[in-house]
C-alpha cells in the first residue's frame, strides 16, 4: 500500500455540498440541524426516532454493548460511578501553570531530544524523566536511544548512549542510572554516574506488563501491573520478589517469595517499608503498608489507609505513587472527566499526603495540584516527583520537549481546590 492511498481515504465533503444535502435531511428526518447543534453544545444529543430493520438488528446484536451514555439523557448503570470519588458540584480546580525549567528542541544533537512521529503509530518523545537526589535531571531520550543529563538548572551536561532498541523505563539512585527495555531486548542496563555501563541484565519472563522501574539501596525494582515488585540483584539478575518469586535467567538460586498478598512499591530508599496500592473507581484507593524485615525479607503488615485524591471529581485511574523526603507520599490520578477552566484543562490531580505512624497516608491530602495533559507526543508519565517533593511535568510541543516545575501550595481546608495556585517564578527557579 502506498502512503498516498492511506491518505486518500475519507475525504471531507465540501461544505457547500453538506449544507445542500442537509436541507434534504431536514425534510426526511425528525432531527433538525439546529437541534443537533443545540444538543451538541449541551452535550445531550437526541437521535431520530426513525427505526429501520438495520437498526433493530444492530440493537439485537449489540444489546450487551449498548452505550447508555449516548442515549438521550442516558445515565445507565454503566455510567454510574459511585463510591467515595462520586462527582458532585464543586469548585472548578485551578490548573497549575508551572514554571519552565528547560525547553529542549527536537533533534539528535547535544541538548536535543528525539521525536518519532509516524502517520499511523505512536507519536513519542523521551519516555521517562527522573531527578537525582542532587537535583540533576536524567531524560530517557528513547528515540535517540540515549540518556540526556541536565544540571539542576536545566543546562545540558552530557549524552550517554544506551544500547537498547526500545528503552522505556528509567530509575536513578546514588549508585547510578537504570534503563529498562521490557518489550524488545528485555534487558536492564545499569550505568554509573559517569555514564559507564556497569551491568546488563537479561530479564526472565515476568508475569504481567511492566509499569515502573524503581530504585532502592538494595537495587532496582521492576513493577508489573502496579501490584507486583521484583527486586533486582545488580549482579545476578532477579532474585527476589515481593509477589511470587522467580529464577535468575542463568538458572541460579531461587528465593522464596516474601508474600504474594502484600506486594507493593518501596516507600523508601532503604526498602524498609512497602505499600500495596490498589484503586477501583467504585471503592477508591486502598494503601496497605508493611514493614520489610531486612534480614528475612518478610513483610509485616502495618495498616491500611484509604486516602482520597479529589473530593469533587471522579478519578479514572492512578498515575503514580511516590515517597518523598520528610515522610510524605505523593499520589496522582487522572480525572475521569477532565475539567475545563480558564487556566487550562484539569486532567490530572496530584496530591501530597502526610504519613501516619503505621506508614499509611492520611485520609485527606495536605496539598493538591491540578495539571493538564496536553502533551503533543507521548512522554511517559505526565508528571514526575522529585525527591524533594517538587513536581516536574514533561510536555511535548511541536517545537520541543519542555519540563515545567510545579510546587504544592498549602491547602488550608480539604476540598477547597481554588486555594491551589501556580507558583511564582521566584519560588520555583533553582
Amino acid at each position: 500500500m502506498t502512503r498516498k492511498s492511506l491518505r486518500n481515504i475519507s475525504p471531507p465533503a465540501p461544505r457547500s455540498l453538506a449544507l445542500v444535502l442537509s436541507l434534504c435531511a431536514l425534510l426526511a428526518c425528525t432531527v433538525s440541524v439546529p437541534d443537533l447543534a443545540k444538543g451538541t453544545e449541551q452535550g445531550d444529543l437526541t437521535v431520530t426516532q426513525v427505526t429501520t430493520s438495520a437498526e433493530s438488528q444492530a440493537e439485537e446484536a449489540g444489546a450487551q454493548s449498548a452505550e447508555p451514555g449516548a442515549e438521550p439523557g442516558g445515565t445507565g448503570p454503566e455510567e454510574a460511578d459511585p463510591g467515595p470519588t462520586d462527582p458532585s458540584p464543586g469548585p472548578v480546580p485551578t490548573v497549575s501553570q508551572g514554571t519552565l525549567l528547560v525547553n529542549l528542541p527536537w533533534g539528535e544533537g547535544p541538548g536535543q531530544v528525539g521525536l518519532a512521529r509516524p502517520s499511523e503509530g505512536l507519536c513519542r518523545g523521551p519516555e521517562a524523566l527522573r531527578v537525582a537526589n542532587d537535583g540533576r535531571l536524567v531524560i530517557l531520550d528513547s528515540v535517540n536511544r540515549r540518556l540526556v543529563l541536565l544540571a539542576p538548572d536545566g543546562s545540558f551536561l552530557a549524552n550517554w548512549p544506551v544500547e537498547l532498541r526500545d528503552p522505556r523505563f528509567l530509575a536513578v539512585d546514588a549508585q547510578g542510572v537504570y534503563v529498562l527495555d521490557p518489550d524488545t531486548d528485555k534487558q536492564l542496563v545499569c550505568l554509573d554516574w559517569g555514564g559507564t555501563v556497569s551491568a546488563r541484565l537479561t530479564l526472565p519472563a515476568l508475569d504481567g506488563v511492566v509499569t515502573a522501574l524503581l530504585a532502592t539501596e538494595r537495587g532496582p525494582c521492576i513493577e508489573t501491573g502496579h501490584d507486583q515488585v521484583f527486586l533486582v540483584d545488580r549482579t545476578a539478575g532477579i532474585t527476589k520478589s515481593t509477589a511470587g518469586g522467580t529464577k535468575s535467567p542463568s538458572g541460579g538460586k531461587v528465593v522464596a517469595a516474601i508474600t504474594k498478598r502484600l506486594a507493593g512499591r518501596p516507600l523508601d530508599n532503604a526498602l524498609t517499608r512497602v505499600a500495596q496500592v490498589t484503586f477501583n473507581p467504585a471503592s477508591g484507593i486502598e494503601v496497605r503498608s508493611s514493614r520489610l524485615d531486612q534480614q528475612t525479607l518478610v513483610l509485616h503488615p502495618l495498616g491500611t489507609a484509604r486516602p482520597r485524591l479529589d473530593l469533587n471529581s471522579a478519578v479514572e485511574h492512578l498515575i503514580s505513587v511516590d515517597p518523598v523526603s520528610g515522610g510524605e507520599m505523593v499520589i496522582g490520578g487522572r480525572l475521569a472527566s477532565p475539567v475545563d477552566s480558564r487556566q487550562g484543562r484539569a486532567a490530572i490531580v496530584v496530591s501530597r499526603f502526610k504519613l501516619g505512624e503505621d506508614g499509611g497516608p492520611a485520609k485527606l491530602p495536605a496539598a493538591s495540584l491540578y495539571l493538564d495533559d496536553r502533551s503533543f507526543a507521548y512522554v511517559g508519565l505526565p508528571y514526575v516527583v522529585a525527591p524533594d517533593g517538587r513536581v516536574l511535568q514533561p510536555l511535548a510541543t511541536r517545537d520541543g520537549y519542555l519540563i515545567l516545575l510545579h510546587h504544592f501550595a498549602a491547602q488550608p481546608s480539604a476540598g477547597s481546590l481554588d486555594s491551589v495556585s501556580a507558583p511564582s517564578p521566584q519560588e520555583v527557579n533553582p
Binding site: A18, L36, A37, V50, G69, E120, G121, V209, T278
Partner: protein, 341 residues
C-alpha cells in the same frame, strides 16, 4: 441508515467543528436516502461486519504480539514473532474485522493488503461501524482508543485495567518497534470507541482464532460455508478429509489460571467426519479427544474440564481440530471456554 446516524451521534464530542461537519454530512446522506425510499446503509460494508465476542478480538490481538510494526500493513501471520506485522490502525481493523469495502476478504490464501482502508483518522472521526463512548470509564476489553492531530494518529486496543485501573493496551507503536501489550498513559486526546456488533459473552471463539489469515492458526485449505444451518455466528469453516496437513486452532487469552470447561460446536450432517481428532493443549500436556460430527450438531458439545494458566499460549492453552485422516468433512465452527464453578 439509522445505525450510521447513531454511530455518529453517539459521540460525546460533537462540539468540534470537524465532528459537526461529519454529522451534517451523515444527516444529509440519510435524508437523501429516506427521500428516495432507500433504507439501505450508505456503506453496505458497515452492515456486513460479523458479530464478534470480546474474547475473539483479544485472541486476535494476542496472535500478533512481537511481530514487527510495518507501516501500511494490516495482516500478520499469527503467533510468529519477528515477522512482518501491522501498523496501528491495521492492527485494530484486523482485530475488529472491519473492512471498508466488501471486496475485503480474509479467506485462505488471501493475505494481501487492500485499499482503501480505515486509518487512525477514520477511527478517531468515527468513519466506520463503530461509535464513541461518552467516557473512558465505560471501556471494556476489545474497545479501542484513538487519537489524531491532523498529521499523525494512533489507535490502541484496550485490554483491561490493572491494579490502579491504568489501561493495559495492545498496540503497534511504530517503525523499529514490535506489536506489544503494555501499560501506557493515554492523554485526554485519546477517544474511546466501541465497534458495532460486539457482544459480551463467555470466552467464545467463532471459527479459528485468526480467521485464516494464511498463517499457523489454520493449516491446509479451509473454506467458509453456511450450507448447513445451526452454526454459531455468521458461518463456519469446513475442510474435506485429507491425508495432508489440515487443522484449525482456537487460542483464547485466559483471564485467570484455573479449570475451564470446553465446549465445541459444529453443524452435523451425514457427510461429516465420524471421528475427527481434537487435541486440548494444556500446560500439563496434550489431551486427545474424538468427535463425531455426524451427530450432536448445533449444540455446545462438552469436551471436558481442563486446567489452564492465565495468558495466551497457542501451545499450552488452545484447542486444535484436525481434518487429517478424517472420514468426511470436518467442521470448525466455534469453541467456548467456561471457567469452572
Amino acid at each position: 441508515m439509522r445505525l450510521q446516524l447513531r454511530a455518529l451521534l453517539r459521540t460525546d464530542s460533537l462540539n468540534s467543528l470537524a465532528s459537526r461537519k461529519t454529522a451534517l454530512v451523515a444527516l444529509a446522506l440519510g435524508g437523501l436516502t429516506a427521500l428516495t425510499g432507500l433504507l439501505l446503509p450508505a456503506n453496505p460494508a458497515w452492515a456486513a461486519i460479523p458479530t464478534l465476542t470480546r474474547a475473539e478480538i483479544i485472541a486476535r490481538a494476542e496472535s500478533a504480539l512481537a511481530t514487527n510494526y510495518t507501516w501500511g500493513r494490516e495482516s500478520w501471520t499469527p503467533d510468529s514473532p519477528g515477522t512482518a506485522g501491522p501498523d496501528c490502525s491495521g492492527y485494530a481493523l484486523k482485530c475488529w474485522e472491519v473492512p471498508q469495502t466488501l471486496l475485503y476478504q480474509e479467506e485462505q490464501g488471501v493475505n494481501s493488503n487492500f485499499s482503501p482502508r480505515y486509518t487512525s483518522y477514520s477511527f478517531y472521526n468515527c468513519l466506520g461501524p463503530w461509535y464513541a463512548l461518552s467516557s473512558r470509564s465505560l471501556l471494556k476489553q476489545g474497545d479501542v482508543l484513538a487519537k489524531h492531530d491532523g498529521d499523525s494518529g494512533h489507535v490502541v486496543i484496550y485490554a483491561s485495567g490493572d491494579a490502579w485501573n491504568s489501561p493495559i493496551i495492545y498496540e503497534a507503536p511504530g517503525s523499529g518497534l514490535t506489536v506489544r501489550r503494555v501499560s501506557r498513559y493515554l492523554g485526554s486526546e485519546y477517544r474511546p470507541l466501541r465497534r458495532n456488533y460486539v457482544v459480551d459473552s463467555p470466552i467464545i471463539l467463532d471459527n479459528p482464532t485468526a480467521k485464516s489469515i494464511g498463517g499457523s492458526d489454520v493449516g491446509g485449505n479451509w473454506t467458509r460455508s453456511t450450507s448447513v444451518s445451526g452454526y454459531h455466528g455468521d458461518n463456519y469453516q469446513v475442510r474435506a478429509a485429507t491425508t495432508g496437513t489440515a487443522w484449525a486452532r482456537w487460542t483464547p487469552r485466559f483471564p485467570t489460571s484455573g479449570a475451564y470447561d470446553i465446549y465445541m460446536r459444529w453443524t452435523a450432517a451425514s457427510d461429516r467426519a465420524s471421528g475427527a481428532l481434537v487435541t486440548v493443549n494444556t500446560p500439563s500436556g496434550q489431551y486427545k479427544r474424538i468427535v463425531n460430527q455426524r451427530v450432536n450438531g448445533s449444540t455446545w458439545y462438552s469436551l471436558g474440564r481442563y486446567t489452564f494458566a492465565a495468558g495466551y499460549s497457542p501451545t499450552a492453552g488452545s484447542l486444535t481440530l484436525y481434518a487429517t485422516g478424517a472420514d468426511g468433512y470436518v467442521i470448525a465452527d466455534a469453541v467456548m471456554f467456561v471457567p469452572a464453578q
